[in-house]
Symmetry: C2
Subunit: 331 residues, 2 copies
């Protein structure tokens, strides 16, 4: 495989001149032509690894999401990839299966690839990122969940959950269950908080039995929904606080021969395509994915380009309640 030296030799110029040409520096016309001829003839491809070693820039950003099987996150990943590509960056996409050990491993893997920056949907790595010798110094944007002293883009989980529950209350529901997430995930807590606030604001007491903690996965949603269906004093409605669990909860419903919204009203979280085709179409809290992705890209690109140490910015986006057919009016 030809390298820059071979090109220089064939073109009859110095290596540094070839380098300059490749990187867009000004070069005398006849040299430019000779170099280009040599590049074509030798089928020279620049060795990015060598360049990275020298420049200490990989022109690559790492993207770490909880799971590749979550359309919510892959959808964001895809949108961000577009944005980064426009800015000249490629991406390395990894997932960590909602596993803390793997989360750390993948973070280190990405760092070992010397990515220039990172977009992370953090699970338990918040402290790890803060203390890890290298991660500490690398530009990172957190999405979906907050990392202290880091640029962060999130949507307003609390008010989203509030809207969802309020909607149920307006439709006459008083016995409302929530399938929340693990208490070590920020969005889970915030959504639970929104749930509680909405109940309180409407003078409805909190029944601890109605509060279930899933693990943000499909099977978690399934399990918790099953538990809810077994309750003696069964709720008339349930708010499921993320996308995967919403799917899982629906499987549980259908497995038990329960009909939405006849037997149970439903409000889900995250408006994926799927929410429109399931039967019935689901009422959901929708996060602005396009905006979220765009902001994340902008923040990270800025951070990577300038090394002035600006303070972290936190962007919180509004959610929207999309009303479809999964809530029964029992007034």
């Amino acid at each position: 495989m030809a390298n820059i030296k071979d090109v220089a030799k064939r073109a009859g110029v110095a290596v540094s001149t070839v380098s300059k040409y490749i990187n867009g520096g000004s070069v005398r016309k006849y040299n430019a032509e000779a170099i280009q001829e040599a590049i074509d003839a030798l089928d020279f491809k620049l060795n990015d690894i060598a360049r990275s070693l020298k420049t200490n820039k990989a022109m690559t950003v790492g993207v770490l999401i909880p799971s590749l099987e979550s359309s919510f996150f892959t959808s964001i990943a895809k949108k961000m990839e577009d944005g980064f590509l426009e800015n000249g960056y490629g991406i390395m996409l990894c997932d960590y299966r909602n596993d803390f050990e793997m989360e750390k491993e993948k973070l280190e893997f990405l760092v070992s690839k010397r990515v220039d920056g990172l977009v992370v949907v953090p699970y338990k790595s918040v402290d790890f990122i803060k203390t890890h010798s290298i991660l500490r110094d690398i530009p990172i944007v957190a999405i979906d969940r907050h990392i202290q002293e880091r640029d962060t883009v999130i949507s307003d989980s609390t008010s989203g959950a509030f809207k969802a529950v309020e909607h149920l209350i307006i439709n006459g529901h008083k016995k409302i269950s929530i399938i929340g997430g693990p208490s070590d995930i920020q969005t889970a807590n915030l959504r639970l908080e929104g749930y509680k606030k909405a109940l309180k604001a409407n003078g409805i007491g909190i029944n601890e039995e109605y509060i279930k903690y899933g693990n943000y996965t499909l099977s978690g949603g399934y399990t918790q929904m099953s538990n809810i269906l077994r309750l003696k004093d069964r709720p008339t409605a349930v708010f499921v606080s993320n996308y995967e669990m919403t799917l899982g909860a629906m499987i549980a419903m259908s497995d038990q021969g329960q009909i939405i919204p006849k037997d149970m009203s439903f409000v889900g979280f995250d408006d994926m395509d799927m929410m429109k085709i399931v039967s019935p179409p689901l009422t959901v809290v929708s996060q602005p994915l396009d905006e979220l992705s765009k902001k994340a890209v902008d923040l990270l690109v800025n951070r990577m380009r300038s090394d002035e140490n600006k303070k972290a910015t936190v962007i919180m986006l509004d959610t929207e309640l999309i009303v479809r057919d999964s809530v029964k009016n029992i007034n």
Copy 2:
């Protein structure tokens, strides 16, 4: 940031000794201890880029799939990632949005990162891969679709489609439509072939009006299903030949107030979780994803480890028809 030189200095040994230690060579005990102490104290992290430059191995494989928003492919990607990790390889995952230009770009991006091997779900890049100067010499495993003279893992599309259509016929259907894929995608052709074979084998004539070509995306399925519903002589059943289009076709049905299987019988392709929770649960042709992923990993790892030029192996896996509730018996 500490490098291997700093470690050597602090440990009082030569750089090459540190290198040997890091790479598992035998080193005198007191030196090993001193080196480890230095590594810890200086928080030394090996620079993989420098190592890659020297060894010409990145211990990374590139995975290129058509779309990150297709659960079918992300699911495979995830399974393969596990396998590669077990073998010490990290992965770079990319998608190309079913776009040939982007397919080429991403291929070149991955190559520019000097990945050691590639797993590709090829769209139109078959020739590109065959002729491109670098791709020609890099280990590549094709999945889902075949690349000549390359290791390939696919499932038997033709017989899968055959089973699907046969199932419809057994249930009394004669007017059977297919939503196939673009004619430039191999699986699309093979599945169409299976469809035709099944009809012929059962003495049913082929009605060109019943053959629709979608683009393997959700919206393509939607459009083609809408077209089918508009047909004067409407079919009683439809076989949709991939996962995304199946979803799209279902949205179209529900948008037009059509009920499965009352108004139209359905057989889909690829048994994702979703197929179980939609209502009704869908009868589908299922591909063995675990096996497919595992074989792909094995093939590529072997290929990367030995550079003997073994002939390409093609593995074809069997599909399975999973019968659920989306086909009406009209006998």
